[in-house]
């Protein structure tokens, strides 16, 4: 176990270095003078040579690239990505203050998707071949193909525009601070419904399909046939023998879901003007606020890295074959 952990940690470290190199390369392959990268969209030609040199020196652009990279890496390790071009505040501060809002949205969507998707998936694997199972398989399949921004627009059209029972956008109403504590909670819940639904439905389909195929895979194996042969009932076989083995692969979903959810946040937060890191990323891209863009790219990649590391270690605890056997496919 320890050998596996050490190897996995080393890989994670290596991947971290890879993430920073990839991001740094991306910054420096952007066409145009890197000065614009740090000071915003200015007309570089209009600056005097002296000012330019001063700017270059201030941001260490006059140093050789490897030195620049190491300097930048030293910052990135402590999540220091410089200052935003928009308001000159540290990028780290701007990200950290938006993070809870995104976490709130993603966590609820994750709970909803897993809480509904996994039971449905397991149910349909146990009832394989029946009409209801086939219908639900096609249903999930279609759900998975729905573009999330379209779903969001349809939900808005239905619940916020036509029937006006849920708010159109934002995290809280305009009069939020004048409400009582319980009314504040209700207000926040009402604002959560549509974004969470939009973020969750595609994940729900993924969870259902994944858990279905996991259980189906287990049911095909010899020890299930053996359990049946010894006379155990269908329910007992499913419950005692199959289910536990089918749930283990679900751990890997943890590592897969998080980047998906974060990607979805960009769209959902933009549509609902939800004040999280997805919206921050979108706005920063429109403003060409490169330090914030790069900070967010590195940070979301690191979050994903940790999630998959966590999932892998958990998996190795649950399934000894992983840590004893050959290295699993990435």
């Amino acid at each position: 176990m320890r050998a596996y952990l050490v190897r996995r940690l080393l890989y994670a470290l290596l991947t971290f270095v890879g993430i920073t190199i990839a991001t740094f390369t991306l910054i420096h392959s952007v066409p145009g003078d890197p000065v614009t990268f740090y000071v915003g969209r200015v007309n570089v030609g209009s600056l005097s040579a002296q000012t330019l040199a001063a700017i270059r020196h201030e941001f260490h652009l006059d140093e050789p690239l490897p030195r620049q990279y190491l300097r930048w890496l030293r910052g990135a390790v402590t999540l220091d990505f410089g200052r935003s071009i928009q308001d000159r505040r540290p990028v780290r501060e701007r990200i950290l203050e938006k993070l809870p809002n995104t976490f709130e949205l993603n966590f609820l969507a994750f709970l909803l998707a897993a809480g509904l998707g996994i039971p449905i998936g397991l149910w349909s694997a146990a009832h394989s071949g029946r009409l209801a199972e086939r219908a639900s398989a096609v249903g999930f399949f279609l759900i998975y193909s729905l573009p999330s921004f379209w779903v969001a627009l349809l939900l808005i059209e239905c619940f916020a525009v036509r029937y006006e029972i849920l708010p159109l956008l934002g995290r809280v109403s305009d009069d939020y601070f004048e409400l009582s504590a319980s009314a504040q909670l209700a207000d926040r819940m009402r604002h959560l419904v549509l974004p969470v639904l939009t973020l969750a439905y595609a994940q729900l389909a993924i969870f259902a399909r994944f858990s279905k195929s996991a259980l189906t895979e287990v049911i095909r194996q010899d020890f299930i046939t053996a359990a049946r042969a010894k006379g155990a009932g269908t329910a007992a076989v499913l419950w005692h023998h199959a289910l536990r083995n089918a749930l283990i692969p679900l751990i890997t979903l943890l590592g897969i879901t998080i980047p998906y959810l974060l990607s979805g946040s960009v769209i959902v937060e933009q549509i609902f003007q939800w004040d999280g890191i997805g919206l921050l990323y979108y706005d920063s891209i429109l403003m060409r606020d490169y330090p914030t863009v790069m900070g967010l790219t590195v940070m979301t990649a690191i979050v994903t890295l940790f999630a998959s590391l966590f999932a892998d270690v958990l998996y190795a605890f649950a399934d000894p074959r992983v840590r004893l056997g050959e290295e699993a496919m990435p």
Binding site: Y11, L14, T15, G18, I19, A22, L26, V30, P31, V138, F141, L142, Y144, S145, L146, P147, S148, F149, W150, L153, L154, I156, E157, V161, R220, I258, P259, Y260, L262, S263, G264, V266, I267, Q270, I271, Y281, Y282, I285, L286, R288, Y290, V293, L296, T297, T300, A301, T304, L305, S308, M329, P330
Partner: protein, 315 residues
């Protein structure tokens, strides 16, 4: 395998739908164009609509020329011809799917939008298949360090939340049809690489590969002539899902305003206009969304049935 695939009526319908969409995309300038297909004017016979295949309509703002005879396109509107008096018209006999906030015909824009979606879908996937197959083949064939390096690279790419990476690349390098195709292609080859790697690991030491090696064939020849064709089927499955994902991502980029630059019509950008007019123009929401959904679902369905047909264990 094709026989197994054919048994699914749903998948055949999906395949037919894809063919139909490809047809629409290829013939877009002839299906929706304000200029006639065939015209007789002072300067004799001409085929004005066909000119759009060479260059985009240059005199979009000029009034139409006088013709004595004209054979009109089925949808007599160009995707970018602005008509302010009829802005935000609900679907009627003149505009089957209504008009947008500049009075442009939605059906015409959707027909031309199909070109963007399918072009991006096909070419992004082509790039992904080429990159993925090559890397997967090298990793699976040589093993050792090459395999290790490719596996770590896959891990690295998968660490970036997909949309963050694509949005970043596209925005940094100016959004255009080509940037989007390249950005999507270079970020979504991981599935193909894994499939090819897995398949190569399985077959690289089977008799026919060893026979080829014994008869003195070079590595490249063994990889391309003997092994790669055997790994093609799972790659095609993954490519079908890849096209679906690429179309979905392209429309999301356009929806966010970072796709193919305006005024070029794209399904996603129509939906972005729909967002602004959500309370007074339902047709802007409904039709382009349906187009994205049905096309994406078709590609996913074909991929799914294709995969089932390949899997000997499924009934």
């Amino acid at each position: 395998m094709w026989r197994r695939f054919r048994r699914s009526r749903l998948a055949l319908t999906a395949l037919a739908y894809i063919a139909f969409m490809t047809f629409v995309a290829a013939l877009a300038p002839l299906l929706a164009n304000r200029k006639p297909l065939l015209a007789h004017g002072p300067s004799g016979w001409s085929f004005p609509a066909f000119a759009d295949y060479v260059t985009a309509d240059p005199d979009i703002d000029l009034p139409p020329r006088v013709e004595t005879f004209a054979l009109r396109a089925p949808i007599p509107y160009s995707p970018n011809s602005v008509d302010l008096p009829s802005r935000l018209d609900a679907p009627d006999r003149a505009h089957f799917f209504g008009t947008d906030d500049l009075g442009r015909d939605i059906l015409a824009r959707m027909i031309h939008g199909a070109r963007v979606s399918l072009t991006v879908g096909f070419f992004a996937t082509l790039i992904a298949v080429i990159v993925g197959s090559l890397l997967g083949a090298v990793a699976g064939y040589y093993g050792g360090f090459a395999d290790w390096l490719v596996s770590r690279t896959i891990e690295l790419v998968l660490c970036f939340p997909f949309l963050f990476l694509v949005l970043g690349i596209v925005a940094l390098f100016k959004p255009s049809l080509y940037t989007i195709m390249i950005a999507l292609g270079l970020t979504s080859w991981t599935h193909e690489a894994r499939y090819v790697r897995g398949e190569f690991l399985r077959i690289r030491d089977i008799d026919f590969a060893q026979a080829a090696r014994a008869s003195g064939a070079r590595d490249a020849r063994i990889i391309f002539r003997h092994l790669l064709p055997n790994a093609l089927a799972p790659v095609l499955v993954s490519a079908s899902f890849g096209v679906a994902a690429a179309i979905l991502t392209e429309s999301a980029l356009s929806f966010l305003g970072l796709g193919v630059p305006l005024p070029t019509a794209s399904w996603g950008s129509i939906l972005s206009a729909a967002h602004e007019h959500i309370d007074d123009a339902w047709w802007l929401v409904l039709f382009p969304g349906l187009a994205i959904f049905t096309t994406v679902a078709s590609f996913n369905l074909v991929g799914e049935r294709f995969r089932d047909a390949l899997d000997p264990r499924s009934e």
